[in-house]
């Protein structure tokens, strides 16, 4: 059976790795990259010189040379013919398949501002770009976007002696992962490391003629010689649409990770999946989700009935000695009535903890500093959907018995036991929390 994998990222290679050594399978990977599998999460650390370039790569190339796997580098797929069961690459080559796996991920969202294509504008999506950025000799850098990658790139460039500025459209940093209180604390921490952070600012133009000389925002003009776009990833849907696959924001898949077209699977950054805890459809472009999905795809190709439980949200922002963790939903991403939510907050110096509870079940939270140590047990309680608020009808015994790991309940219980009494003192609605 011919297995064709489009995309040589983490998801695509994980499918191949799971299928390696299976009898009767002929696996072909079409990678748009010029490098063997590397880990995009580690690119900022490579740019900052924290890890050597070799550590970026995940698996040895020999894994693919010896076995049943062929790897075509620099060979992006252009179109799919689902009737003839072939994929045509942009070079005009045709690859037949019996099972097709779409794992081509996404492409960087390029902000529509003039001058963004000049020399000196980089991104941190691919190893090629990271190589260029690592060799670039500049003094003043500007990072557009403050997602996890944006923050990490800013740290990396700071480590290399740049003067770094971060521009964020929304009012706080890491807007997709953190809520405003945590975002403000992280902004202060970044500023403490001498990184300029300008929030609620929009980049209007990148100045320069051929080479970047500065950036104009709606509030000021910032001179710089290096611009890094960290504006997020848009799922690649164009390829799937050529085969008539149903797409929304990403490729739509069922719980076996198969699309609506027969024998075509999809996994990785390009798919839209439900959240394992709340069931909300969304893009959960995180590495562990890509790995999970790839294993489900491989299992289904091998004939096992593997079902995907949904994506888990766990992300982390780390710069210098500041550690921040987010899991589950943020208040911004919740679309329910604010009265239905209860928010638990703890603050200690620079440390911060926020846990969002809905219907007595944790649905999300954020932690900075020493509180981050507690996220493991809290997250485990979230994933098991444990009732966490002490109510008369839930005696401690019953709660313990309900939990498969009773001690965790006890570990996090002190956080919640004064919750009932202090709920009025805290916040009643997200609006109040954000003030």
């Amino acid at each position: 059976m011919k297995i064709l994998i489009v995309g040589g990222g983490i998801a695509g290679h994980e499918v191949a790795a799971c299928l390696a050594g299976e009898d009767g399978l002929e696996v072909t990977i079409l990678s748009a990259e010029r490098h063997v599998e590397y880990d995009p999460c580690s690119l900022p650390y490579y740019i900052g010189g924290v890890i050597p370039r070799e550590s970026v790569f995940r698996k040895n190339r020999s894994l693919y040379e010896g076995g049943n796997t062929r790897l075509f580098l620099d060979c992006p797929a252009a179109s799919i013919n689902s009737n003839n069961r072939t994929v045509t690459s942009s070079g005009g080559e045709t690859f037949p398949y019996d099972r097709l796996v779409l794992a081509h991920g996404g492409s960087l969202f390029i902000p529509p501002v003039p001058g963004i294509d000049q020399e000196g504008v980089f991104d941190c999506k691919s190893l090629d770009q990271a190589d260029k950025l690592a060799q670039c000799q500049g003094t003043r850098a500007l990072v557009i976007g403050s997602g996890a990658i944006g923050i990490e790139v800013a740290e990396a460039l700071k480590r290399r002696g740049y003067e770094v500025t971060i521009i964020e459209v929304l009012p706080w940093v890491l807007p997709a992962l953190f809520d405003e209180p945590a975002g403000r604390l992280l902004k202060r921490a970044l500023e403490g490391w001498d990184i300029n952070v300008f929030t609620s600012e929009r980049v209007l133009a990148v100045n320069g003629s051929g080479k970047v000389t500065g950036v104009t925002t709606d509030q000021r003009e910032i001179p710089c010689d290096t611009v890094v776009m960290a504006t997020g990833v848009v799922p690649g849907k164009a390829l799937a649409e050529t085969a008539g696959i149903r797409v929304n924001r990403g490729i739509l898949v069922d719980d076996r990770m198969s699309t609506n077209v027969a024998d075509i699977y999809a996994c990785g950054d390009c798919v839209e999946t439900p959240d394992a805890c709340t069931g909300d459809l969304g893009l959960y472009q995180l590495k562990h989700n890509a790995l999970d999905q790839a294993r489900i795809v491989a299992g289904n190709i091998m004939g096992r009935d593997s079902r995907y439980p949904g994506a888990y949200v766990f992300a982390r922002a780390h710069f210098f000695d500041t550690h921040a963790v987010t899991f589950g939903k943020t208040l911004r991403s919740l679309k329910c009535a604010p009265d239905a939510l209860r928010i638990i907050e703890r603050r200690r110096d620079k440390d911060y903890l926020q846990v969002i509870v809905k219907d007595d079940v944790i649905i999300g939270g954020q932690a900075i500093g020493s509180f981050a140590d507690l996220t493991g047990p809290i997250m485990a309680a979230m994933w098991r959907r444990e009732k966490i608020i002490s109510r008369p009808e839930y005696s401690a015994e019953k709660l313990k018995a309900r939990s498969s790991f009773p001690w965790m309940q006890e570990k996090i219980r002190p956080l919640f036991e004064d919750f009932g009494a202090k709920i009025d003192d805290f916040v009643k609605s997200p609006d109040a929390a954000l003030r």
């Binding site: 924290v50 493991g376 018995a401």
Partner: protein
């Protein structure tokens, strides 16, 4: 006590039997670092609501720490334990934050995470188990036995909730 890597074994913790003497912490640091320093220990005895809980890496079947590590420094040893590759690790603590047991602890020297490797090098088995004087608080048992004990524990706990029976312990072997 022979210790081969053929049978997957893990350390089964029975928290009710632990009295918090922390011998396990001491011998763990001795085995791995040659020091009597609990700060270097890969097993930690947490105090939870006036009782003690030895906390260590459970070597999860589908370990989240392996998946979330940004530089792929977490890897599985031959004896099924999960260890950190010191050369790769950045000390970003992603594994610590995703772990439901809070098991990866930070080495005070390298600031990188260390976790239980089930005393990989030592044919006599994990030192903490051998040092434990509370009979059965730590036991080195095959994975299947541990799973049976835990299932049994859950069943007994339910029975106790329903009938208000006596206290139960996790190690039913």
């Amino acid at each position: 006590m022979g210790y081969t890597h053929d049978v997957k074994k893990i350390i089964l913790v029975s928290r009710e039997k632990c009295n918090g003497c922390r011998r396990c912490e001491l011998v763990c640091s001795l085995q791995h670092f040659g020091l009597f320093a609990p700060a270097f220990s890969r097993i930690r005895v947490l105090k939870v609501n006036n009782s003690y809980l030895p906390s260590l890496c459970g070597a999860c079947e589908d370990a989240p720490c392996i998946k979330v590590c940004p530089v792929n420094a977490r890897f599985r040893l031959d004896n099924h334990a999960v260890d950190t590759d010191d050369d790769r690790c950045l000390g970003c603590l992603a594994c610590r934050y995703v772990c439901p047991f809070m098991a990866p602890v930070i080495s005070p020297v390298t600031k990188k995470t260390i976790t239980c490797d089930l005393c990989f090098d030592d044919p006599s088995g994990p030192w903490c188990v051998q040092a434990c004087r509370q009979r059965g608080a730590l036991q080195f048992v095959p994975v299947k036995t541990a799973a049976r004990c835990r299932a049994n524990f859950g069943a007994q706990l339910w029975k106790r909730v329903i009938t208000r029976g006596p206290r139960v312990t996790a190690s039913g072997i």
